[in-house]
């Protein structure tokens, strides 16, 4: 017995989040009626382009039961690679450099895959360590300075909008990526095994899957998407900024968003669609807070509290599942 589509939509996590997004928009309109402009809409969508790509990698990894603290450092480092390739090989087309940067991103992700899966270090702490390593390196490379990236083609990628609308062309690409990953997650053997590995690695192993390999792929994928995200960000900012993303900590925002969208911190559940809706909520909210000229502490507090709330909801949901599997000797994997 399948639930009817309408029922599923009403019961779905995304519905609540979409209502919240509308609420944010209404509140913004009430407080600052002039805020709902085309320029602001374009800003929000541009932001969403970066967070969308970046968040998919984080959410995928989370579903597989992993988390990479160094994700934003990977973005910065990949942008550094992009910058250096452009500087060292004059006349190289920007997209070739971008491909090299994305390959570099895969390697950065691979390093963490090696630490977490090969050396079996605690992923949380080990990736914190790596974020410090790459963060220091990224600053050292330009002595902490910003470096402008003046490539008109590169900047145009993120700037061009569809006709007269505030929707960047890139946004279409981002949606396509989210859809493509959703299809992988829902309709391929690999995608399904991600949830299995996240939900119960021991069972996955006994069912003949290779949890180590699947998690490693997810770390590498996270690195690749972090690199793409980093390129999008630097294209929008038209520069290499060694500290910008670290201060922004988009992996935490993505984590919160994914969890609001129902991805469990314990791995093994959730969908990318609702994670994307979660990201949309957070970026709309943070931009709304900005336009309302609210003080910085308020914005920081909202971000922190959202994460705490998402974690609390997740804790209770996991407890409920554990109870339904009671006395079966079922082990819910933790991050430790």
């Amino acid at each position: 017995m399948k639930q009817s589509l309408i029922k599923r939509i009403i019961n779905g996590k995304s519905t609540l989040l979409i209502i919240l997004i509308l609420l944010v928009l209404v509140l913004t309109y009430l407080r600052a009626p002039n805020a709902l402009t085309k320029g602001n809409a374009q800003q929000v969508l541009s932001n969403l382009c970066f967070y969308g790509i970046f968040g998919v990698g984080v959410a995928m990894l989370l579903m597989g039961g992993g988390f990479d603290f160094a994700t934003s450092a990977h973005s910065t480092m990949s942008t550094l690679v992009f910058l250096k390739v452009l500087q060292w090989i004059p006349g190289i087309p920007w997209f070739v450099a971008a491909v090299i940067a994305i390959i570099a991103g895969a390697l950065f992700g691979g390093v963490n895959a090696f630490l977490a899966q090969g050396l079996k270090l605690l992923p949380f702490i080990a990736t914190i360590g790596m974020s410090s390593v790459w963060g220091g390196f990224a600053r050292w490379a330009t002595r902490g300075n910003y470096v402008a990236i003046n490539d008109p083609g590169f900047s145009a990628v993120t700037a061009k909008c569809i006709g007269n609308t505030p929707i960047p062309w890139l946004f279409v690409f981002v949606i396509a990526v989210v859809v493509a990953y959703s299809i992988v997650l829902k309709w391929t053997r690999f995608g399904r095994s991600v949830l299995v590995v996240g939900g119960n690695p021991a069972a996955a192993r006994l069912a003949g899957l290779n949890p180590g390999r699947i998690k490693s792929i997810l770390y590498i994928n996270n690195g690749i998407l972090a690199a793409v995200g980093g390129l999008i960000w630097s294209s929008q900012q038209k520069m290499y900024n060694p500290t910008g993303l670290t201060t922004l900590a988009p992996e935490m925002t993505s984590l919160t968003a994914a969890m609001l969208g129902g991805v469990s911190f314990m791995g093994g559940s959730g969908s990318l669609g609702s994670a994307f809706v979660g990201i949309t909520l957070i970026s709309t909210l943070s931009y709304a807070l900005q336009t309302m000229m609210l003080p910085l502490w308020f914005v920081t507090l909202i971000n922190g509290l959202l994460l705490v709330i998402a974690l609390t909801i997740d804790s209770f949901a996991s407890k409920k599942i554990r109870k339904s599997m009671a006395t079966t000797g079922m082990v819910m994997p933790g991050m430790r």
């Binding site: 360590g129 507090l301 609390t312």
Partner: protein, 337 residues
Amino acid sequence: MNNLTRTSLVKRVIRTQAFTLLILLVAMILIFTVLAALNGAKFFTGKTFVGILQDIAVPGFLAIGAGCLIVSGNIDLSQATVGALSGIIISIAISWWGLPWYVAILIAFGFAAAIGVINAVLISSIGMAPFIATLAMSAVIRALMQLLATDANGSLQSTITFTDPTLTTIGGYDIIWRIPATVVLVIVAFVVYGLILKKTDLGRSIYMIGGNRRAARLSGINSKGITYFLYINCSILGAIAGIAYTARAKQGGLQALSGDQFTGLTAAILGGISFAGGSGGMGGAFLGLVVLKTFYKGMLIVGSSTYLTLVLSGALLILALSLDVWSQRRQRKRLGV
């Protein structure tokens, strides 16, 4: 009736990671002395060692708090942020609110204890993973800092200076050769906490919780109460570190202690306090800290930049983790598990 004894002291000492660290420390001093000489600088001087001691004072408190928590199988990533918050609190309490220094410190402790309680609620009562819960808390604390550091005109002050003769005298007081009094304090704290961990029933309970939480609870150990105590303790020690830093710097700042965010953690793990819980001690954590700070100092003298220090601090954290995993594996092998 036969009578058995414990394993001999010598054997036990050699098996500890602290012993390995001691050897590492000596080797490091030798290598840096040679390297520095090659670069035309000097490493083996009184100034260097006084510098290392100065660097230990603040992160020492952090390492103690973090170490105790890790022994019990927990972690607190918000500790250094609590330190920065305490710095802000005493600065504004003294310079904006005109309160005496001891009241300021009491307020800072109050906040720290409250944060410790919240951490413990999230982790012990609600059941969140410690890493992420304390990380989320540090965002909330940062918000609190930003709120407090906003002055009457509504502009955010990134540093707040204050003048209080008593506090700055205590913080800046040097005993001899520019060795600050706080160094003595931190060493005393290391000894006291070392004794608590190894010699008291509370300490033993902490180890047993780290070794097997469920078994400890079923044997009558109040694991929830002790977890609460440890998070509060960790927060308060973070506050002490923040106050020590602020008192010497004569100002509180939003970025205070950010360089030492993971120093306490790294030192504790490097010193043999295992993430598997239930092993290591304060002696190891202290040595870990000394090794860490000697290494940074050495690298600076040999000619590294501050950026490179950041790289190294990350690399050392990973090295410490690898050592932890490696020594666990070696032990397992020795025991044939």
